[in-house]
């Protein structure tokens, strides 16, 4: 619980009116951001422990897994998905009802195969090339991703699903440019 307290304290500080409204001085904004980032990192460690407890492991592979979090998925940046040709992903649904959620992962391959569930069901996916023009791979974020891997995660209420994602052979979705009359 002391790890969770770091974020609790940061949130407590952020109840101050200037953090809520964004009227703090810039130096204070940086301080708020640092506190929240530290709190978030500590909570990710807790989630790491929780996921290892939730996932039943065979006795032969009892070692705890190290789960990593991609904090920059919103700007198509994730070192782990960009730099590995195969990886596992767990998606936890905090809502008390089942949810279907479209996920986008920054990748560099042209095609991928995704399996889920204990029976290894195939999950349909699409590799969408990123566009420099719309700054989906902005120079700002140092990402090496060239595409987004898109698929739908079907999640149980207050539960999780795991996915095995690996690069395969195939083609990406084509991008068509439109020449407009002006």
């Amino acid at each position: 619980s002391y790890k969770i307290d770091v974020l609790k304290r940061a949130m407590g500080v952020s109840q101050h009116h200037d953090a809520v409204s964004g009227t703090e001085k810039q130096a204070v904004a940086y301080d708020y951001a640092e506190r929240l980032a530290n709190g978030s990192a500590e909570c990710q460690e807790v989630i790491n422990i929780a996921l290892n407890k939730l996932q039943d492991k065979a006795p032969s592979i009892a070692a705890a897994l190290e789960w990593k979090f991609c904090n920059y998925l919103n700007v198509s940046k994730c070192g782990l998905t960009e730099n590995n040709t195969a990886f596992y992903m767990t998606v936890y649904n905090p809502l008390g009802r089942p949810v279907d959620k479209w996920l986008r992962l920054p990748v560099r391959g042209k095609a991928y195969t995704i399996y889920t569930g204990p029976n290894g069901e195939l999950v349909p996916n699409q590799v969408v090339p990123l566009s420099k023009e719309t700054k989906m791979v902005p120079d700002h974020n140092n990402s090496r991703a060239t595409a987004d891997l898109v698929f739908k995660a079907s999640l149980p209420a207050l539960g999780f699903n795991t996915y095995y994602i690996s690069q395969s052979s195939g083609r990406r979705t084509a991008v068509r440019k439109v020449r407009q009359n002006r």
Binding site: D18, S21, T23, K25, Q26, I47, N48, L51, A58, I61, L65, W67, K68, F69, C70, L73, C78, L80, T81, F87, Y88, M89, T90, V91, Y92, N93, P94, L95, V99, K101, W102, G117, P118, N119, G120, P124, N125, Q126, V128, P129, S131, E133, T134, K135, M136, P138, H140, V150, K152, A153, Y164, T173, A174, V175, R176, K177, V178, Q180, N181, R182
Partner: protein
């Protein structure tokens, strides 16, 4: 030379071939179709004069545009189209600091507008406040609706306050309200059942300055302190020193009032409590993993 249509089995959005802007939206499930236009604009922030309270500058506390009408960032956008089995998207570039991806996932009843704005240019010494504006022809009768911190939906009436007689001196800012998770406009004409709803991924400000329109503030960069205590202009330069680039999403739904009410409650919850993703590069085979 023909218009570009983004569609799935439930909804479609048409983009004008001449301008590259959104032109029409249809809810196929409900058989509702409306002319819809969407574009990015900016207000120029008031420079102000801090020695005179009536000449307040636009700043961190205060939104005070120089003029009532915002300037379009561009009157057209270049387009790129991606068609696939799971997601179709149209990418629009409006300027070197404004772009957008309009996405439609298979089976989705709503359209996702992912906007990217910044760094806002200030080379001409003008502070800018960038908005997106969704323009319909709905007869919204001076009204629009926002949420109160994701809970109660409140009706907002232009140039009106329910508990006192308002002397409106700010035609734009005086009609801006917090949009914490959603806002919508309705066709207020009798027997019409159309509602246009926008859910956002973060708290923003916005208003319906003209009937049928819904505008939402996306990003601000200002050059003067508004003299209310912060003591700095709202001019975040970021790590590179040129200003921040901001990206976010709007989820747009066109429907009747009852289906809109259901959708924005469910979807609002899903946006607020989004799934948590975690990754690992375990050496286990998929069989061992299973």
């Amino acid at each position: 030379n023909s218009d570009v249509t983004l569609k799935n089995e439930r909804v479609s959005v048409v983009f004008d071939s001449m301008t590259g802007l959104v032109k029409e939206m249809t809810n196929t499930d409900k058989g509702i179709s409306i002319p819809l236009s969407q574009n990015f604009f900016y207000y120029i922030g008031h420079d102000g004069d801090n020695s005179k309270p009536e000449k307040q500058a636009s700043g961190a506390y205060i939104f005070r545009p120089n003029e009532t009408n915002p300037y379009p960032i561009n009157t057209s956008a270049t387009l790129e189209i991606v068609n696939g089995e799971l997601v179709n998207e149209v990418r629009q570039v409006f300027s070197n600091y404004t772009s957008q991806v309009v996405r439609l996932y298979a089976g989705s009843p709503y359209v996702e507008f992912e906007w990217t704005v910044g760094p806002i240019p200030i080379g001409d010494n003008k502070g800018r406040e960038v908005i997106t504006r969704y323009m319909t022809k709905l007869a919204s009768d001076n009204k629009f609706y926002t949420d109160a911190n994701g809970r109660e939906i409140l009706q907002r009436v232009r140039n009106y306050r329910p508990t006192w007689k308002l002397n409106q001196t700010e035609p734009v800012a005086g009609n801006y309200y917090p949009i914490n998770s959603r806002a919508f406009i309705r066709d207020e004409v009798a027997n019409s059942d159309i509602q246009f709803t926008v859910l956002n991924d973060r708290s923003q400000g916005g208003g319906s300055i003209q009937d049928g329109n819904l505008e939402i503030m996306l990003h601000r960069r200002l050059l003067h302190d508004d003299s209310l205590g912060v003591g700095e202009p709202l001019n975040e330069t970021g790590v590179a020193g040129n200003g921040l680039v901001v990206r976010g999403k709007h989820y747009v739904y066109l429907g009747d009032k009852s289906s809109s009410a259901k959708l924005h409650r469910d979807l609002g919850e899903e946006i607020f409590m989004a799934p948590i993703t975690a990754f690992t590069t375990s050496k286990l085979t998929p069989e061992e993993w299973a």
